[in-house]
């Protein structure tokens, strides 16, 4: 009896701890999206007040308007460069790729440099209306309150 009491308690095995942590790690690596697509144009987002969140990220399409390294203003739709007159066809194609019930959720995030002139944005808006792709979000950052 005495002998038993003197014996050391066995150490708690920590061998499975790395496995648990690795599982967490893999979970985070899979869940977080690092970058959806490569943005090749440079832009600074404009400011706004009382902004709404972009709800369904997976349903989201992105249109970027900004300047390239050499300063030329370029439009990028999702992953590729595009001309204004190609937007209409591309948007109709995107719209048709949605399931019938999801068509209403199709949203386009416009990420446009704040120094871009409205002329080009107006042309893009007109093309979107012609393609009947009318739900858009002007992505912006919150204006600093004074």
């Amino acid at each position: 009896m005495l002998k038993r009491k003197k014996k050391d308690m066995p150490a708690v095995s920590t061998a499975s701890l790395p496995d648990i942590i690795f599982m967490l790690l893999f979970f985070f690596m899979v869940v977080t999206v690092l970058k959806s697509h490569t943005v090749k144009v440079n832009f600074d987002l404009p400011e706004g007040v009382d902004l709404q969140k972009v709800v369904n990220k997976s349903q989201e399409n992105h249109l970027y308007i900004g300047s390239l390294e050499d300063g030329t203003i370029t439009i990028q739709l999702n992953d590729a460069f595009i001309n204004i007159d190609q937007i209409r066809g591309a948007m109709i194609k995107i719209k048709n790729s949605y399931e019938l019930g999801e068509k209403g959720q199709a949203n386009l995030s416009l990420k446009v440099d704040k120094n871009i002139k409205m002329g080009i944005v107006s042309k893009v808006k007109l093309e979107l209306r012609k393609a009947d792709f009318r739900k858009i979000t002007y992505v912006s950052v919150r204006a600093e309150e004074e």
């Binding site: 942590i21 790690l25 709404q52 944005v121 107006s122 002007y138």
Partner: protein, 175 residues
């Protein structure tokens, strides 16, 4: 002889957890779960034809020029003041005859220059939206005694019906 029989010492797995933790914390810090925010807009349907005219007293004309200067109903004004001008127009508390007789008749008409900066345009649009949100919030408080976010579908529809946000955008002018 005795030595050879002894099994090799176990590799300590205790520090593995630390390494994995380090990786985990790195990923937690490095990945940003960024949520895009912005001004949500539904563009009007494409319509190629003569524009329908609305009664002049129901329309608030906002023009923004190539230097991002604002003109509301023919008077120069500032972007910061727009948040007060819109409720004064839409709700028409003073009962002016050149303002809409009922809030649901009010139309905000905006026209920009081709050289207006996108920054000013988005800011202006967000101010219009936010002043409508504020008006709806006040209406919901006085009508249902609840905040906008607590309304059920039917009540929210009612608020939207009473205070619809009608924004019309004219073709941009060139200067």
């Amino acid at each position: 002889m005795k030595r050879k029989r002894k099994s090799p010492p176990e590799i300590s797995a205790g520090s593995m957890a630390d390494i994995a933790f380090l990786l985990l914390i790195f990923f937690l810090v490095a990945t940003q779960i960024s949520q895009d925010k912005g001004v949500r807009v539904i563009l009007p349907e494409y319509y190629d034809g003569p524009a329908g005219a609305a009664a002049d007293n129901n329309v608030l004309n906002i023009k923004i020029n190539k230097s991002d200067e604002l003109m509301v109903e023919g008077e120069a004004s500032k972007l910061e003041d727009l948040g007060e001008l819109i409720p004064a127009f839409v709700l028409n508390p003073k009962g002016r005859s050149d303002y809409p007789s009922s809030p649901h008749k009010a139309i905000i008409s905006i026209q920009n220059d081709v050289n207006t900066s996108y920054d000013a345009y988005v800011y202006m649009y967000s101010v219009i939206q936010s002043s409508y949100t504020n008006m709806r919030r006040d209406l919901s408080k006085s009508k249902f005694g609840k905040d906008l976010s607590e309304l059920d579908m039917k009540e929210a529809e009612e608020i939207k019906r009473m205070l619809p946000m009608k924004v019309s955008e004219a073709e941009p002018f060139e200067s």
